[in-house]
Homo-oligomer: 347 residues x 2
């Protein structure tokens, strides 16, 4: 009773060959009812189940998928992406091999030179960070499908699912302008050493909307407030906004996690949204709803699921309808934005 029973122990006990035991589990329909029943009984008695290891070996597949991410899985976006991928892959027998914090120069270097995923995974997902040409080349040496989620264009992906960060933030900004705001501030954190593509794209969207609008609205004032990354980025943003000579009549936020603390903390300084200013976020992350934050909605869970479905198709050499997809975030109007009347604008 010491050692766990193996396939041959079961075969012997059931008086059949290991081939038959194998078949009982992999293709039960081609085994006679009586044999199958007997084998299953014995197997159960011995706590025997087919191991995936043998199958992996034989098939050459690992039933593992690598997920590379900037920062930690604990962020809202990353968790959702993970859960979305898992929602598709789990039932197909795949595990997700997680590689977090591919963000510092060292961790990147280490990852891409060691390339621990080489010959160890069946597919690679890259979430939310840009990849450099040389790294892309390294990654392609894995010779498995590589699917990007919220990544900038790059030749190394077989498929990408991205939201239109730039267009989305442009529309968010246009919304504020259309509401009559004329002194808009964009708060964002500095990008990570490894370029987080979303951060840059969103800023570009804001700038584009503003420069464009300025052609017809000359008195439009706008400004980008960039604060250091890290735990306290929201507090830094708060300080930066309060330090402005005239308090803005609208704040456009890189993400909800910045917008939500801002809304709450600005109250303590007498600035109430939407009474005193409008504010819009990006993501529609937890509590945005509770707080009534107007924001651009995106669904990273679904994006992860889409990525996984594409990877699976690529694995089977099936054609992809749309290998490179750009998803549009949608404006969710809630209660932190309000139209300015002419008097206020003039004031």
């Amino acid at each position: 009773m010491e050692k766990r029973a193996g396939i041959r122990d079961v075969a012997k006990a059931a008086g059949v060959s290991i081939s038959t035991v194998s078949r009982v589990f992999s293709r039960p329909e081609i085994v006679s009812d009586s044999t199958r029943k007997r084998v299953l009984e014995i197997a159960d008695k011995y706590d025997f189940k087919i191991t995936r290891t043998g199958t992996m070996l034989k098939s050459g597949q690992t039933f593992r998928a690598a997920l590379l991410m900037n920062e930690s899985i604990t962020s809202w976006f990353n968790t959702q992406v993970f859960a979305g991928i898992d929602s598709i892959l789990h039932d197909k027998g795949y595990d997700i091999s997680l590689f977090q914090h591919i963000d510092s120069a060292e961790s990147r270097e280490r990852f891409f030179t060691n390339l621990p995923v080489l010959r160890n995974v069946d597919m690679v997902f890259v979430a939310s960070f840009a990849i450099e040409a040389e790294e892309a080349e390294q990654l392609q040496r894995t010779r498995v499908p590589i699917v990007g989620i919220n990544v900038p264009e790059s030749s190394c992906f077989d498929s990408t699912i991205s939201i239109d960060d730039e267009g989305g933030m442009e529309r968010a900004t246009q919304h504020l302008i259309r509401l009559g705001h004329r002194n808009i501030v964009y708060t964002c954190s500095q990008p990570a050493p490894t370029i987080d593509s979303s951060i840059d794209a969103r800023e570009r969207g804001f700038v584009r909307a503003c420069t464009q609008a300025q052609l017809t609205i000359p008195d439009l004032r706008w400004k980008v407030l960039k604060v250091p990354r890290g735990q306290q980025f929201a507090d830094f943003a708060l300080a930066a906004v309060l330090a402005e000579e005239t308090f803005p009549d609208a704040i456009c936020c890189q993400m909800d996690m910045m917008a939500l603390p801002l809304v709450l903390k600005l109250q303590h300084f007498g600035h109430h949204a939407p009474r005193d200013y409008s504010i819009i976020g990006f993501d529609d992350s937890p509590y945005a709803d509770t707080l009534g934050l107007t924001t651009m909605h995106q669904d990273p869970f679904e994006m992860g699921a889409m990525a996984a479905r594409n990877a699976l198709k690529l694995l089977n050499n099936e054609p992809l309808n749309e290998p490179f997809q750009l998803v549009e975030p949608s404006l969710i109007l809630r209660s932190t934005d309000e139209r300015r009347n002419v008097a206020q604008i003039a004031a």
Copy 2:
């Protein structure tokens, strides 16, 4: 160039045996410098790396850990536990095989009868849900270390790391009572079909503190408000609180995710904390800090890490200092609680 190079291709190309190639990767120090260098060069040229599959087969280990959880990984607690376990196991070469939503009767049944983890993982983690005797027995058939995180006592675990939910909530409640509150309401959601041990334990803690205090404070009034589970449990709690004949002077919350929306939404109904009532949460989850919520702090990331360290030791047959650990949550005083003066209490 079609097929990927295997270990024997590399061996042949380098003019050595496969044993040598294997040694170059597993114990490079016992291979001569010149051979090692040559093999590595060839390996790199062929994009060859040692596969974990072969190693698994040989060693009998799977380098996979199962993580069973109630509900979804996207909840704060579950994500933190996952990240904590991964922080220890990742570098040791383990992947986490996630089994979410072991909560409905059917999904439980399916999981425990199929027992997909049998012979497929090296260790099992159970996060935050109670297990029945029969299920425990099933689980033990895996014959691998089973470590529980926030689980009620049960014979089936080789180790458990739990927070003292009951004691923690008792102290939270005592805090409110000591502050002078005399009309306390406890808001919580109904437990899942699969018993979420924390929910029950916390309620017990509240009830115990109240019944105990009532011995010396006869005019203490308290009540448990139980609302349906699901997405809108916070809204249900809000409605339940507002439906009380006299608005409570203190609210004790099962978790921050209930307390935070409550604090925010009660404002719209003219009830401000701590001016009109005190409120205390449990967890110290995201935004508790931002909102200044007084709460009981726990650290599920660290608990996951502890669980993983214990599992690793068990795997190596090392003794555990403290196999069954009870962690105390700590009271974090912020700004949603306030002492009532005698006048107020009398009113």
